[in-house]
Structures are given as C-alpha cells and as structure tokens.
Amino acid sequence: MVVTNFINKGVKLLAVLLVSMTSLSVQAAVLDPDRADVLYHSYEGGGMTIDGPSVLLRKKTSESVAFTAYYYLDSISSASVDVISTASAYTEKRNEGQFGVEYLHDKTLMSFNLRQSDEDDYLAQSFSINVSQDTFGDLTNLNLGLSYGDNEIKRNGDDQFEEQSEQYRIRAGINQVLTRNLTASINVEAIADSGYLNNPYRTVRYVDNSVPSGVAYQAEVYPETRNSFAAKLSASYFLPYRAALFFHYRHFNDSWEITASDVELGYRHPLGDSLELEFKVRYYQQTQAEFYSDLFPYRDAQNYLARDKELSDFSDITYGIGITYQLPASVSFGNTRSEASLQWDYIDFQYNNFRDPTADGGVGNEPFYGFSANVIRAFVSVYF
C-alpha cells in the first residue's frame, strides 16, 4: 500500500515536471566531455580487506547522445567482529556492471541507467531514470529521478534458501547559482524497501544460563518493509585566491526509527598549473533501530530482532586527503589530457551500544566496539 502510493506520487511528480519543462523556451546546453577512468581501490579495517579495480568509460556519439559503461570488482576477505563471533572468516568476489545512456534536448538532460551487482549469494539488478533541466537563465537546475531494484538473496551452504527484496527510489533536487562565487543545492530522496531485508548470516545473542558461556544465538528477524527519507543541503564557494570550499549536510530518518545526520567540509587547492590538493573532514552519527539490542534477555524476546552494528547507535569521523597531478602532454595519448590521482580516507567508527563479544568482561559487560579503516583510491583519468 505504501509502495503503491509512493509510485503514484512519483509518477504524478514526474508528469508535472515534464509538462513544465516542455513549456519553456530554451537554448542548447552541452553534454559532459568524453572520459575514461581506471581506478584501483582498497579498504582495510575491522578485520575486512576489500580491494579491486574499476573502469569507467564515457563517450559521446553526437552532440546530444552519450553512453557510459562502468565495471567494478570487490575482492573481499572478511574476518569482521560480526563474523568471527559466530562463524568463520570468508572470501568472496562481487562484480558490478553499469550501462547508461544520456540524451540532451535543448536544456533537458534525460538519462537511463542499468546496474547489476553479482555475488555468490546476492544478485542485485536495478534501473534508474533521471531528468534534469537548466532554467532561469541557467541559474537554476532542477532534477528528478526514479529507480527500481530487485534483489535475490541466497545463503552459501544452504541450497534451499532463496529470498527476494525490492527497492523503489524517488529523488528530486534543485541546484541554484546564488552569487558569482557561490552555488547551493538541495536534494531529497525517499526509498521504500520490501521483502527479505535481513542479513542471512547474522545472529542476535541472548542470555541463556543453561549453557556454560551464559549466552546463545538465534537468527535475526527484520521487518519486511523499510521506508526512509533523506534531505541533503550542499554548497560550494569559490575563494578569491582560486580555491574551492565545499559543504554538505544530510539528515535521514526511516521507519525503523533510525535518525542520522552527517556533515562534511571539503577544500580543494591548486598548486601551480599541474597539481591539485583536496582535504575533507566528515562526521556521521545515527541512533539505533527500534528493534536493535546488543544482548536480548531471552530467546524470541521480541517480534523483530537485530544485532547488526550498522543498526546500533554509533558515530564515525572521516579525514581525507587527495592529490591530482595533470600529466604532461608528452605522456598523454594523442591529443588527450590525462590526470593521475591518489586519495586516502581514514575513518574511525565508535559504537555506543554494540559490545565487542571477543573481548573480556563477561557477557553484556564487554567494552564497546570500535575500529578504524583506511580507504585508498589510485586512478588515472583520460579526457578525450
């Protein structure tokens, strides 16, 4: 019912915008330039190591049509705290592919994107449609998008297990030039999930005095629906000595009673003609899901049960630095322009009601869990 209303509203909104857009008299805009990106990414922290390549290729076939292809691989080796308390470490691969097409008509940009993510135990397929429009002397850009995703969830070692979930997304945004040095945007997005939303491997723990350890485990049980809403305010400011300042603030809440917010400040500073430095700091905090508990008092203590640390009350802070070097023409291909970039993010997670079950202290009295992660990206971008 909620999902049906959601779609109906989305379709009406899309219709309103399309009618409005066609009533405008406009001049031509241009598509983004062709580019190719080859990237290596690495994540290491909390017992997990994930790395792999990604490739992005974007090519215009005319002044009004562009195609995008994207490939991404995660090679995962996991012995995270969730895994080692009740199961064994594992390795797996995740392949992701995307294909997109953009069509520009005057100042209206329409895009369609297909995406598939494939693992041994998870297949996610989705498509999205986006429409954006420059208006008001190109001071304002409006955008609207819809997405639908279908997921098949399996459990390794259990051939009988097969579940499904669906996701609808609707988003809208407005980007406004405020002064000759300042732009701001507001984006909102509503997401509705339904189906099997659990992680099939994770368990909750509860007090059980009949076993020597005093604690036993049972499978998590999540609600079969989740509706969420996020709003984000962004701004970018051009500083007088040619540098850029970025600001983001996002607020989020959902039907699982999670409320979250994050704030980010970024700074980009060119050095000479060929170097560019980037710095950022980001803070995130969230409240727990209503059905989360680190330790339940007994088995089947409530209808819904979760002990995912991602659903607990926690905060994290990210410090990031990046450098981009514009390669000299002598090492670029033909008439292309190339850049090499390196980015490093350090993220520190601190959990406020998720305890480390591998630590000493007795059941329910262990210290709160925390970990840090290093995220690295090295990539080359070629513009042609």
Binding site: G173, E189, A230, A244, E276, E310
Partner: protein, 86 residues
C-alpha cells in the same frame, strides 16, 4: 513498531517538491525576478576545481564504502541502489 515516516509525510514532501519545482520553472520571471548572475560573470563557477563530482569513479567508491557501514542512504547525488554487502 512506530512508523516514523508515514505515507502522509512522504506525500507531503513530494507535493512540496512539485510545487517548488513549478515555481522555479515558470514562476520567477513572471514575478519580475531576473537572473542576477550573468553568463559572463560565471567564470569562477565554471572553474573545474568547483565541480562537486570532479572524480566520479572515486565518488562512487566512497558512496559504496559508506553505504555498507552506515544506515543512512539516499540524497547522495551519486548513483546508489543495492550494495550487495552481506
């Protein structure tokens, strides 16, 4: 479980977006408001260092990293849609 995000709130939000969009699309000039930053005054805004999404592959990767570790999702301004992060 209390539903903190009722369909009514979602519907109201979408209607507000539609209304604001309509005003922005067709209302400003009819209200006598003219674009106040002229095209020849936008060289700073057009500078590549001002691009939010200067490195799209890197942005998508960071969004994917956070999506699997935080509950908040949506309104990132990047792709998204199913993380496959069991």
């Amino acid at each position: 479980m209390t539903n903190t995000l009722s369909p009514r709130v979602t519907a109201l939000s979408l209607n507000c977006i539609a209304l604001l969009s309509l005003i922005s699309l067709s209302g400003c000039t009819s209200m006598g408001i003219e674009p106040w930053v002229k095209p020849y005054e936008r060289q700073n805004l057009a500078d590549p260092i001002m691009r939010f999404n200067r490195h799209p592959s890197a942005s998508m990767h960071m969004a994917h990293v956070l999506e699997g570790r935080e509950s908040a999702r949506g309104a990132e301004g990047t792709g998204g849609g199913g993380c496959g992060c069991n």
